[in-house]
Assembly symmetry: C2
Homo-oligomer: 414 residues x 2
């Protein structure tokens, strides 16, 4: 098999930790596979570089920031190649451009346009382990770009799709994807297999393991993912397409997200085009909106409520201060002390009683629900931030008590 292995910053934080990666790569080779390794910058080097940049310039140019940040992964790949070579294993490092990763020119959050795998495939044929710098690419004009948060995962997934690889292993400091954060919910179990859709909902809902963007990419190109611990040999979580996911369950997992802020635009005229103007103005500023709820109209007016990431709090205020008056709204309110709790499961929508059980579990804990939003495979509630962990525990326990995390009976006998 051709396997792409991705190791994050905490797995390459020192030469000693990198030697563990070398050991694992050599083991994979001994099992008859070929390996492409994607690595992040060492430890918190990226944060240190960002900090240096901000000390140089409060508002550093995104282009220059990418020139700076891309050095982090470049260091990692050279050192890992040297370590492999020190063990007698032919290896070669490739920066983003050399690996054929072509992006657009949105510095700091570039989108992959194309991958030319000629060079990687040639190096593999020569018997090399190919060590690729994650998180980075070049534009068609040879400008250095970075892919933004979760960029190294994306590099690994995109290379897996382009080569194509038989498997993409995401090595991390946890053992896989869990039903719920084990730090909050005692007894939360590791998920052995999960569909792209479910994983996507979990990731979008605050599970930290992988960014939604990489999962979407894997789904689109049907890249088989294995999220597993960089230490030890235990199986992690396989993320794959639904058909192959044998054990379909109602309740796959639960996640909470505290880094959200809620805004309500008050008493907006209930006429066409209002939502488009609000969310168009937010999109123009590059602000991603999470939940959107529009209340039923009363007297030809209604409230539009939505949540955004805390990072976008200030920018959202600026946009609304401009937009709200021009809509004839009665201004807007905001609330930063909220948390979004999301339960995810492929069978959730069509199974009776799921939402009711969730709401009852919260009611039993005296937790007030401020917003509700549902999708095909997810139900989310917004609650007070200081009740988030109580909410997660209560819902998880209620769903477990119903046996909803057990596989459904096979369709034939349904």
């Amino acid at each position: 098999m051709l396997i792409v292995q991705k190791y994050g910053g905490s797995s390459v934080a020192s030469l000693g930790l990198m030697r563990r990666i070398v050991k694992r790569v050599l083991e994979t080779l001994r099992n008859g596979h070929r390996v492409v390794v994607v690595v992040s910058a060492m430890g918190d080097e990226t944060d240190a570089l960002v900090d240096l940049a901000r000390r140089a310039n409060k508002n550093p140019s995104p282009r220059e920031l990418d020139v700076l940040l891309s050095t982090g992964e470049q260091k990692s790949i050279a050192l890992l190649a040297m370590l492999l070579q020190a063990r007698g294993q032919p290896a070669i490092s490739l920066v983003g451009g050399q690996a054929g990763i072509i992006t657009d020119n949105q510095y700091g959050r570039a989108l992959i346009r194309a991958i030319d795998t000629t060079r990687i495939r040639r190096e593999l044929e020569r018997g090399n382990v190919v060590v690729v710098a994650g998180f980075q690419g070049v534009t068609e004009n040879n400008e250095i770009t970075t892919l933004g948060r979760g960029g190294s995962d994306l590099t690994a997934v995109a290379l897996s799709a382009a080569l194509p690889a038989d498997l993409c292993e995401i090595y991390t400091d946890v053992e896989g994807v869990y039903q719920a954060d084990p730090a909050i919910v005692e007894g939360a179990r590791k998920i052995d297999k999960i569909s792209y859709d479910e994983m996507l909902e979990l990731a979008s809902s605050g599970a930290q393991v992988m960014q939604a963007r990489s999962i979407e990419f894997a789904h689109r190109y049907n890249v088989r993912l294995h999220v597993r611990a960089s230490h030890g040999l235990t199986q992690g979580t396989i993320i794959t397409s639904e058909e192959k996911c044998m054990e379909q369950v109602i309740y796959r997992g639960i996640a909470s997200q505290k880094e959200e802020a809620k805004f309500s635009v008050l008493n907006v005229p209930d006429v066409p085009g209002i939502a488009a103007r609000i969310f168009g103005a937010l999109a123009d500023r590059g602000i991603s909106v999470d939940l959107i709820i529009q209340s039923a109209a009363r007297n030809g007016r209604n409230d539009i409520t939505f949540t955004v990431s805390e990072n976008d709090f200030q920018a959202t205020r600026e946009v609304l201060s401009q937009v709200a008056p021009s809509l004839g709204a009665d201004g807007y309110t905001y609330d930063r002390d909220i948390a979004k709790i999301s339960v995810v499961g492929a069978g959730m929508r069509n199974h009776p009683g799921v939402a009711a059980t969730m709401f009852q579990a919260l009611a039993d804990q005296d937790i007030n629900i401020e917003l509700i939003s549902t999708s095909e495979t997810r139900i989310s509630c917004v609650v007070r931030e200081d009740r988030a962990e109580d909410a997660v525990r209560a819902i998880h326990e209620a769903f477990e008590a119903k046996g909803w995390s057990q596989p459904l009976p096979p369709p034939a006998s349904a």
Copy 2:
């Protein structure tokens, strides 16, 4: 004017020091010039990276080492561009490949093959200060290379030749080129103007200001150099072609070099081809030989003595252990405790009494001369290493006493 300014590692060791560079660049722009800046890695970052590499692999692959080391300059250029931008000055950073610096594939000591200045010129036309990473380039196959010791100077000189620039300023932590190391010779004066030939001899003789390679390059392409201090505003030393060097003097400066080792191959048959075999074998190992002295033959045999850099000591022993027996020599001897003292001046060779004065000055100090070698613009003596500083002082004082560092009378009245 178009000015290329090169700042070494000690001038960019911190953001604070880089801000001084920004100030100087802005001043240069205010004076109506356009500026290309070439920078080294911050402080001792290159040494730190080399150290990291050696901990990863005792014998790191030169290709991977270049991938690693090139990150040092890449960090510097991004930060300097950000600092310029913070002052409202449009600026753009370019890594070696983006700056059009194409090299051969001798990793770690690549030779510049060509420079395509299209991009730099376009950025200048856009009003940018162009900040180029020194010390690095790419091969035609887009492999990252470094230029070896003194590589950032070479980048600056080569860019100056290719653009072409009107002036290449080399900023350093000394005020210019001195007659002698002021730490050894009290009252040694800064040289205002020096010819390429003289500077080359001084550099090859141990003066630390610039590497011989960059001066040769500047000479070949007639790049006007100004070596000056990165702090303060005093004029430094102009290095230019002889015709323009008004004040020709007999004695320009003196330098000493302790990092040398002397080898003698003993009792070699005095037949054609012997020297070629010895020095051919050394060249095959990449060893540069400095002085070569062949004694007059006695009984059809002679001794061949030469000096090499201390770095090449071990390799030279290995070569001679193989070659000396095959030549029918009586083995070889070596001596690591030597120093080479060189006096440099364009008028030296044709002026009577220069060598005699030098030898007398050494004799007065009871310093024994072990080897003598002369060139068009240089006389070198090898002495005991522990007498090197006494020798430098004695010779400098003797030459000053003769008034030889004063300009010669103009040719017309000669």
